[in-house]
Amino acid sequence: MAFDLTPLDLFDPSSYPTRRHEEWTYSDLSRALRDVPARAELTHLQAEAGDFGGFYWHCAGDGQLADLQAAVSKAVQGSGGRLYLDMSDFGEEGSVAGYQGEGRITLGAGEHLILLEDYSGALDYAASTVLHFDVAEGATLIRVVILDEPESAVSVRRSTVTTAPDSVFKQYVFATGAKFQRFETHVTHAGQGALVEMHGAYLLKDAAHFDYTTRVTHVEVDGATQQLIKGLVKDRATAVFQGRIYVEKGADGTDARMRHQALMLNDGAHVRAKPELEIYADDVQCAHGNTIGALDESALFFCQSRGMPEEVARALLMQAFVVPVAEQIEDEGLREMVLNWIEDKAGGFYAL
């Protein structure tokens, strides 16, 4: 099963996928990127121990992703297995700067890494990044991604993941959308008994667009995939969830579950969900569920009747809808950080 991993070159419009590509029907990159961005120069590079209690890699310019493995090795060996990848310092005043880069993270047998990726720039930019993850036997990679990009940003973040026997890959993506924001993860479940979790929560307002596309291929036996994606969509925002789980012939014992739940907070907001299961093995357990609804008015009244003004009640319930995603993060410090971030964003929906 080949995924559509056609390379995307920000500086070559002929490489942009159009809506005629099945994988890009709901997310129109060509429209978002009418003008080819100017190639941005790398500004600076910094590596130090950061607040996250781990190794801090400040990457101002995606081109530097090529050196990522050096930071990973240092983090795994000397900084308690934590790496903070700061991708927030992009953009130039007054022009749309283009950043493009590719990096690789390889975890050796039995190694552990908690990776925090922070994409929260402030200026205009277009970015295309690709990260490859190779998780060796018995290794564990926890990946928390904050996609808090400016509303003018255009970004495509693609990653590939290859598992080995008994390895664990857990991904938590938290997004506020942008002019165009797409987060793709392509997983090859190549290790017997490997566990992959790919969760996410999105909080979209105004004209934000967020696309979470996940592709999982179970090649080996006894692999497990768990997905819980929850989101809120307000105003004219659009959420896209495309999740495909493909179980190859012979990948018996596969246990794959995918759930996507969205709340549409007003007319005019859009949610496009396309969950797919394609199964060619006999002995598998697979399930997917998809629900799209509105905020529970009874719950809202219940909160108000206890004294909460409507906007406080709404923010509380919206926050409550997405926090179960963050609550799965085992690392306490990271979990608290994400919960605070969600509280801040949900509050912002109603200008608290």
């Binding site: 009244f301 009747s305 909460m308 319930l317 409550a320 809808f321 997405v322």
Partner: protein, 249 residues
């Protein structure tokens, strides 16, 4: 304290309350009894301000203020508390967070200082103990996976912390076994005081053995058709609502 005059209420264009009059003075507990569909829950929801419950006529005075003018949360801050027949589950919000948010929202609206986290914790711990509520339960999302009894105890816990001036208990006995009924009733009775009024909505006399009312009103087809003392409950238990339903028809 609560004075309702000629209250007429429609839900989805159907008139449910048809000119209801009721006066509950401070310090008294009144019970509303009546058959299914009489409008008992509608009365509770209307007083609390539920959307879609349209007041087409009448007035409600609460401590000298026009209750119907107020938003839902303003009614709560003014001291009105509706205990739900089926308290809602709020996934993702720990019970403690929910209660503290509600309490501080009310205080803020009244111009009072918000309660600090340590002070709140101490207060809730004391109240939880009397209601036999485990502190671990308060860290769980409100009412999610709670039994009927636990949900009702959680309602009483909120009353005790929010200290409302007026309580409306909507079918508080439903879903309770005998032991839970006693714990919940004790909790409610502990809140009885000279400056607090209560309206107990119930189908059965059973609850009124535990929460003894000063007055009982019979609600049939959107109106109070008969009022009397506590003895009325026993009469209803023996003879049913038929007599009043026939009279109203």
């Amino acid at each position: 304290m609560l004075n309702i005059e000629n209250l007429t209420v429609s839900v989805d264009d159907k008139t449910i309350l048809k000119g209801l009059n009721l006066n509950v003075p401070a310090g008294e507990v009144h019970a509303i009894m009546g058959p299914n569909g009489a409008g008992k829950s509608t009365l509770g929801y209307t007083l609390a301000g539920r959307p879609n419950y349209e007041v087409t006529q009448g007035a409600v005075d609460f401590n000298g203020e026009d209750l119907l003018e107020k938003d839902v949360h303003e009614r709560a801050a003014a001291g009105l508390y509706l205990s739900f027949q089926y308290p809602l589950e709020i996934p993702g919000v720990p019970a403690m967070t929910f209660i503290r948010t509600a309490l501080n929202a009310q205080r803020k609206l009244r111009g009072e200082e918000e309660m600090s986290a340590p002070e709140f914790l101490k207060t809730i711990r004391d109240v939880a103990k009397t209601l036999k509520i485990d502190m671990d339960m308060l860290k769980r999302p409100l009412n999610v996976g709670f039994s009927g009894g636990e949900k009702k105890r959680m309602e009483v816990l909120q009353m005790a912390l929010l200290q409302p001036k007026f309580l409306i208990l909507d079918e508080t006995d439903s879903g309770l076994d005998i032991d839970a009924l006693k714990v919940v009733s004790d909790g409610v009775n502990a809140l009885r005081s000279d400056d607090r009024g209560m309206l107990v909505i119930t189908h059965y006399q059973r609850l009124l053995d535990h929460i003894k009312p000063d007055r009982i009103h019979i609600l049939v087809d959107g109106r109070i058709v008969h009022s009397g003392g506590p003895e009325l409950a026993l009469e209803l238990e023996a003879h049913g609502y038929d007599r009043y339903v026939n009279e109203a028809a």
